[in-house]
Amino acid sequence: MDKVAINVNVNGVDHAAEVEPRMLLVHFLRETLRLTGTHIGCDTSHCGACTVVMDGRAIKSCTAFAVQADGRKIMTVEGLEQDGKLHPLQDGFFQEHGLQCGFCTPGMLMTGYAFLGENKKPTDDEIRHAISGNLCRCTGYVNIVKAYQYAAQKMRDNGGA
């Protein structure tokens, strides 16, 4: 089948590429752009390890085609750190021990990035619902919730930054 030309902005950088229409967004990020922070976990739309933010909303990149991202803005875990400074969410996961093996962490961070953008002062229950599409098989959910709260607090202190 013919390849399709796409142009995707990933973490603020425009990338032009020719892709097969059947190429999944997660494969485009990992294999074409070599941004391997986004993980492939279950590959069946259950685990959320592949979560990225597309035009402001967290989605599963294993369940979208790369062609669908043409002309859109994607943010991956590589885009969180700015000027050598960790994002408040990354800092939260560090401070609150929000990871053990770390496999789910990129997805957890990107879900959190979209979620805290909309909900500046979440309850623990709201956080638990927000991460219900992200599985942590180390079952570190208690600390992940704490990490989100740490980040939310820090972002409020920074004036929403």
Binding site: M1, R22, S45, A58, I59, T63, V67, S132
Partner: protein
């Protein structure tokens, strides 16, 4: 898991999309949210030769109150139902339903119209739309036509849509005062299909009698089920404990579940009984002004 190759089209207007469906024939498949279609393509359960991606057609992503109806456009995403004021005040059953569908990440992409057009009896909106008496608007080469939801699911994974038609809108009559509804579902874990689900929507008169009831059942038959006997039984009655109990038993008798990994047919039938009673009780609370 990688889908088989396909040719990709990204029309910018509805007319262009319908023209493509006419030209490409039955091997073409529409892509909207893709949260059912893409997993099925990855598992190679389906391998369409042509994908017509309607996501870039502007103006179809609305959830709006208009003309005494709630109108949901082809590209309205599930998450939009969770944050809509009109839904939270007048049709909370829709927010109930959306929150049970998959998980928040999937709901960022998945569309409400796609949930119906997929024709899967395990999907959640069909039961709710049956309870609400919704109308499906299909747009095709001959223009628009309206299909009552009760006629929309003729068989397993089959809908009343013609191959060249697109489900462009769902129209739900806004319920009158003293109405309430609820959707309840038992799922083994977040994101699972229903072991069973029940949607109930009722309207009361000034004396507190039920003037109208809609009951829909999820994943307990080859198609979504409109529990017409239960609806007829409830009409005109006061929804006291005994009436709700009998309605729940009637709904259970109208379900046609099969044994599978989620449970035995007997278990699911009993689950329909329990969920119907709970959904009616919550619908009644809401009709009386409760949350």
């Amino acid at each position: 898991m990688i889908p088989r190759s396909f040719e990709y089209f990204s029309p910018r207007t509805l007319d262009e999309a319908i023209g493509l469906l006419q030209k490409l024939g039955p091997e073409a498949k529409l892509l909207s949210g893709g949260q059912s279609l893409i997993p099925m393509m990855k598992l190679r359960i389906v391998s369409p030769q042509h994908i017509v991606d309607i996501n870039r057609i502007p103006g179809l992503d609305y959830v709006t109150e208009n003309d005494g109806h709630l109108k949901i456009g082809a590209l309205a995403r599930e998450h939009q139902l969770e944050s809509s004021d009109v839904i939270n005040t007048k049709l909370p059953i829709l927010a109930d339903t959306a929150k049970f569908i998959a998980d928040p990440l999937v709901r960022s992409q998945a569309t409400v119209c796609g949930n119906l057009a997929h024709g899967d009896p395990a999907n959640d909106h069909p039961a709710t739309m049956l309870a609400l008496g919704a109308t499906v608007v299909a747009t095709g080469p001959k223009g628009q036509r309206e299909i009552p939801i009760a006629d929309f699911f003729p068989g397993l994974f089959t809908t009343a849509l013609e191959p060249e038609e697109i489900l462009t809108e769902i129209k739900i009559p806004l319920p009158p005062a003293k109405s309430g509804g609820a959707y309840l579902k038992l799922e083994r874990k977040v994101g699972d299909f229903a072991t069973a689900g029940v949607a109930a929507q009722i309207t009361l008169d000034d004396a507190g009698n039920c003037t109208k009831a809609g009951i829909g059942l999820t994943n307990v038959g080859m198609t979504p089920i409109k529990a017409t006997k239960t609806e007829a039984f409830l009409a005109g009655k006061k929804l006291d404990e005994a009436t709700i109990k009998q309605a729940a038993e009637t709904a259970a008798s109208e379900s046609q579940p099969m044994d599978d990994i989620r449970g035995s047919a007997e278990y699911k039938r009993d689950l329909v009984r329990v969920l119907t009673a709970r959904a009616l009780t919550r619908a009644l609370d809401r009709a009386k002004g409760g949350a």
